[in-house]
Amino acid sequence: MNKPSLAVFKFASCDGCQLSLLDCEDELLKVAELVEIANFPEASRRILPGPYDIALVEGSITTEHDEERIQEIREGSRILISIGACATAGGIQALRNYADVDQMVRAVYPQPSYIDTLATSTPISRHVKVDYELHGCPINKYQLLEVLLAFTAGRRPQVSNDSVCMECKAAGNVCVMVAQGEHCLGPITHAGCGALCPSFDRGCFGCYGVKEQADVESLFVFLRDQRGMTTQQAVALVQSFNADAPELKVIASDRKWGRRREDRPE
């Protein structure tokens, strides 16, 4: 049987998620035996033509050209997997979705006409059908390996659907929210990091993104009423590396919790 072909594509991103693949020091050469690395421009000069069996897509869509490019990539890929907060939830650069980027660029940039950008940063799934989404900023390299193995073997990846809180309790950490009064997004954040921040005496800041069906509102009420955070602080805390997650849109557009761009001061 032929090895399945793998392609890695980049949109607006920091390269950290695809770097996770090269950071698999112990597994890299084995991965290369398992799949044919057909198109991975940051690692190889050799670019084989598509179509590809598996496409890993990093980064968010922020230009018109990229809106077209993702369509072509979808057509040329059997399985498309978005990796990381940029690809699955717009990334930190999606904070622009809540600000007036146009005006800002015009006001500041010496040669705004040279800049080619959309007013929004959106996840891949907003543009094409995505077969699997792996969360994290950055993704966990062992989860990536599991996802690759699963898709090459034709099974569903075994990736936890729990929250960071569940991982935190399993790790036996003392709760930093209770014991140290830290602000922690663990209850609403996708598992995957192994509750890294609480094990370093730090509250989770949500880099793995908001979990499906998370009770964002309760945590918000808690942070505001019990921890004295202003609405603006609470919104900023949740709206960071996964700024365009749909769950957060609800918060941002709800006048109780946040403000739309028109309402923002300045």
């Binding site: 980049k10 949109f11 607006a12 920091c14 390269d15 950290g16 998620c17 695809q18 770097l19 950071d23 020091e25 112990d26 890299l28 050469l29 290369a32 690395i37 991975f40 421009p41 940051e42 690692a43 190889s44 000069r45 050799r46 670019i47 922020t62 050209h65 990229d66 990334g91 930190i92 650069q93 904070l95 622009r96 600000a99 980027v101 800002m104 660029v105 006001a107 500041v108 940039y109 010496p110 040669q111 040279y114 800049i115 080619d116 950008t117 940063s121 900023c137 950055p138 990091c193 890294l196 921040c197 094990s199 370093f200 005496d201 730090r202 880099c207 900023a236 960071s240 590396f241 300045e266």
Partner: protein
Amino acid sequence: MAEKQIPVRAGIKSRRIKVDNLTRVEGEGSLLIDVQGGELRELKLKIFEPPRFFEALLKGRALGEAPDITARICGICPVAYMMSAVHAMERALGVTVSDPIRQLRRLLYCGEWIESHVLHIFMLHAPDFLGYDDVIGMARDHGERVKSALAMKKAGNEIIRVLGGREVHPINVKVGGFYKLPEKAALTALLDPLKHGRDTARDTVLWASSLDFPELTRQYEFVALQHPDEYPMNDGRIVSSRGLDIQQTEFPDHFEEIHLPHSNALHAVRKEHRSAYFVGPMARYQLSRDQLSEETRALAKEAGFLRDVNNPFESIVVRALETHYAFDEAIRLIEQYEVDGASSVPAPARKARGVAATEAPRGLLFHQYDVDERGLITRANIVPPTSQNQFTIEEDLHDLVSANLELPQDLLTARCEQAIRNYDPCISCATHFLKLDIRRD
């Protein structure tokens, strides 16, 4: 990004080289070279990484978020962004960290230098010298060398993981210090792989120095930090090989960025003569090689490299020497480390400006922030190494192409790509900053 068609005159001496997607660089770029009538007419290194507007989105965020947010500019050198950010904020707030914290930050930086340099030497650059498409092809013939390189990279990454929590975008760095100090035992467990890595780095230097280097010697203005007591990482004055010697706060008076239409990145130039300059390992080596450890200097001598290096293709050797030094330094820092005092010092907000430059693996990384009394960022300015080197890369290519016009197309193309990779250009870094420089209010 669509490429404009430039008409090419027929004739043996007219040719056009177009590399649409530069490979084995971090990020995306392209190169256009137009030769007509035996003369180089046009050369453009284009960067088409979409801008992500970091300086703009930092505005209004809490100052304590700057290290984690700016780390997301580059997944290959997040520690560098975190270091420049925390130092800039601490200067704004008038905070001085304890000596153990200072040493641990240096250790963290050693981890990133190792990880990033080894990635570049073996995965991105060496395949050019040996004629492979990538490290996987190279591993077929040089399996042991690649395996031991991966072990070196892992040893560097392990420092970042133990001290920072994870390799990409560590979570333990904060303004004022760390969230949690590591146990001595967790660090000493790293010593064996680090000592092993240092031996491999030694082999790497000797091996790299025996490679075939294409000819290209240029007179650069090297710019780097310089410190009286140590090889520069987190601290020092900004000096150049042409006599510049300034405080970090004076950087904006001597360097400026200009915006050219063909690139999404700004080009940094020396303000005085609008000229190109060079940051990175070769600049540090030129200005501070006396500060390397005795072992690294002896190794440099053995390799025939304890001298000025003006051929950018030889940067692979300098990177290997810095890797050796980073192992040596990491071992020293771990051996002398004692858990001592608080993991961080308090950093109360005040209205001020803070500036810091540190030495990212690719060179000088400058951050400047204005913060207000509530602890919010009101203005941010970031100048990454790749934008500073972009002019120099173009000038290198200009000389290289002019001197090698007779080379067949594929060879010349490969040579140009290799010359760009001499700078380990991190294109994600270079374009983050279209959005910099928020001159509002």
